[in-house]
Amino acid sequence: MTRVGVVGASGYTGGELLRILINHPKVEVTVATSREHAGDYVYRVHPHLRKLTDLKFVKPEIDLIADRCDLVFLAVPHGTSVNITPKLVEAGLKVIDLSADFRFRDASQYPIWYGWEHPYPDLLKKAVYGLPELHREEIKSAQLVANPGCIATSAILSLAPAVKHGLIDAEKIIVDAKIGSSGAGMEASLATHHPEHFTMVRVYKPYGHRHTGEIEQELSFVSGRPVKVAMTPHAINIVRGILTTAHCFLTREVKVPELWKNYREMYGGEPFVRIVREQRGLHRLPDPKNVVGSNFCDVGFEVDARCGRLIAIGALDNLVKGAAGQAVQNMNIMLGFDEREGLQLTGVRPV
């Protein structure tokens, strides 16, 4: 059994990693760190795990982690991982970093999107962007994988086929994102205070949201030419779930069958991407309600011929395919397991 550790295991992402990993047949969770809860059973912080594991939190010490683990997930805030990851990589561990600290290929992006100089540009070059649908081969041999952002994952996957075939104007891609509250983590603030958040539809960071840089990086990779994305996120009244609605301008007339061909060509064989575009009923296009708790990203599209517009839609669970599930998918690839191992999670609906 491969020994895995979760650094920063007391947050929602850490809890979701534990929830998936304790049922994963090929790995054993040997370390779950939390400075604040060291010595306590994990189910004191993650009550849904009671009677399923008697793992306890331990303090985050590099030597202990290196000694007990073969592979480590980092579920710590941006800016913290950059101090831990290099040491773990040096100790020879495989590392999957769920923060944004190693997502950009080009170090010059960090001052733009995160306002600081990246202290390890050489290590940054070795990191692989952990989106299996685009980088499966590189992930296989990677020692450090940077797990993508949740909004980025949905936007990239829903747009990639259209961008790859040059169907849309690469300079005018609008992404209007709707986000659940669990994405903001466990730290309470006025913005997540129940009376404030409960029926909120709040635009925050109308432009310049960090995930924009990642979406541009990956869509440029897919198209081979620079791509510009204008993204606006909204906090809405759900806990788990992201819906990204991309509004793009078609470069020529495109019929629906052609779109089906492009999307099926890219995702037909993918275990965790479903193409959802139905003619009847309530569930015609992707909706986060249909993926909560599962590792699926549903993608769909529609052509608005009158306005020459392609509408590309993505839906996922920000804690699963947007974080912990995708991280485990990357682990499976890095360790040579079947990519679906431990990820046969059916969505839980309705919740």
């Binding site: 010595g39 306590d40 059973y41 004191r44 008697d54």
Partner: protein, 55 residues
């Protein structure tokens, strides 16, 4: 070594405890202090912080 939680009667296993160490009961979460009486160890509830319902 095996102990019984004074609060809920759960069985608590702990190897090589030291005096003053704090153990938490797996069933009810009460924090218990290891006390040495003569040559045998026993547990007594550690003093409780203020009533904290997490609000």
């Amino acid at each position: 070594m095996k102990f019984t939680c004074p609060e809920c009667g759960a069985e608590i296993e702990a190897e090589d405890v030291i005096e003053g160490e704090i153990l938490t009961c797996p069933d009810c979460g009460v924090e218990l202090e290891v006390v040495l009486e003569g040559d045998s160890y026993s547990l007594k509830p550690a003093e409780k912080e203020a009533e904290d319902w997490g609000e």
